[in-house]
Symmetry: C2
Subunit: 193 residues, 2 copies
């Protein structure tokens, strides 16, 4: 997605070996205009797939997932990272290890929002090691729902998340794919859209 | 906002003494259509106020804040609840005590996204004791920005958040105001819009 790649080149900041900071338009300050275009691109790709739910994980995945859900005209569900006092019944959980933060956290979705009739598009802001997506897939399948594909805004192609998901049979559609960083600049691989 | 009140009556669940669960359209599964209408209502109210940023706090505030930002055509910023590895510089923080969870957490916003020229509309999903809003106000004012008002989707009018904010001089605009719960049903006060 050229609009996204251009924005990453303009406003993204490469930190150290493997971190791309995009906090001016995606992970902290959010550009609704870009998010809406991202949502439309995902929706166009999956318009004939019969998607019934878009699932993401709090917090940075919410904006792109919400606009994808709007463009597909289906509800969006965001998985919670911690148990909440108002979540008292029928909770499906998965353990997700973050290589970045080096902690394991529990993500959860109330089972009542997923059924065997559901065809789910997962949307997330980043794909690195694939652990968050793997946790979401585990929860969605435990509910008996079908995972149609994983839609990613920015894929770190030098990490193994994509391979892990594809080998397990889940199509990955990434709007920007980071091949490597050179002299503090991003070099892209060809994106899926 | 009648559309919101009707939805609360239809799909909200009263739990115990003072909890309203709205996880089917706001805090877990998200109805983009309702969120978009909420965003439009906030934007209509503040269209002449010169708002330059909408600020919320992760995670349930993001959807209504995003659509309010879209309708006002300004960026949205969501404050983080935990420090992130990619947030390395110029972070403004406030301690926020949650009466519900009985924990104090640190919320933060990168200072580069707020300036003395900014007029900020805070948007959040719930107002109870006002601690989250108070923390956001502290951060926004530390950046030298002006807090124009606090926009709330659901106000628990039987708790003291609104009084705390209004006494400190911050206008509160709530789309639904819960006066009390009777026999497991919500009784509303007259909303601000």
């Amino acid at each position: 997605m050229k609009l996204l790649e251009d924005r990453i080149l303009k406003d993204g900041n490469v930190l150290g070996e493997n971190i791309l900071k995009v906090d001016s338009f995606l992970t902290h300050q959010v550009d609704f205009d870009l998010m809406r275009e991202i949502g439309k691109v995902f929706a166009e790709k999956f318009k004939d797939a019969g998607i019934t739910k878009v699932v993401t994980i709090e917090a940075s995945g919410i904006a792109p997932a919400l606009y994808a859900a709007e463009a597909l005209d289906v509800p969006m569900i965001f998985a919670k990272k911690a148990k909440n006092i108002t979540m008292t019944e029928g909770i499906l959980t998965a353990e997700v290890y973050s290589f970045t933060k080096q902690v394991t956290s529990t993500v959860s979705i109330a089972s009542k929002f997923l059924s065997p009739e559901d065809k789910v598009l997962i949307v997330d802001d980043f794909l690195a090691n694939g652990q968050a997506a793997k946790g979401l897939i585990q929860i969605i399948e435990e509910a008996g729902s079908h995972v149609e594909a994983v839609g990613i805004v920015i894929e770190k192609s030098f990490q193994d998340g994509r391979a892990l998901l594809e080998e397990a049979g889940y199509p990955v559609v990434s709007l920007a794919r980071l091949d490597r960083f050179e002299n503090g600049q991003v070099v892209f691989k060809e994106a899926d859209i």
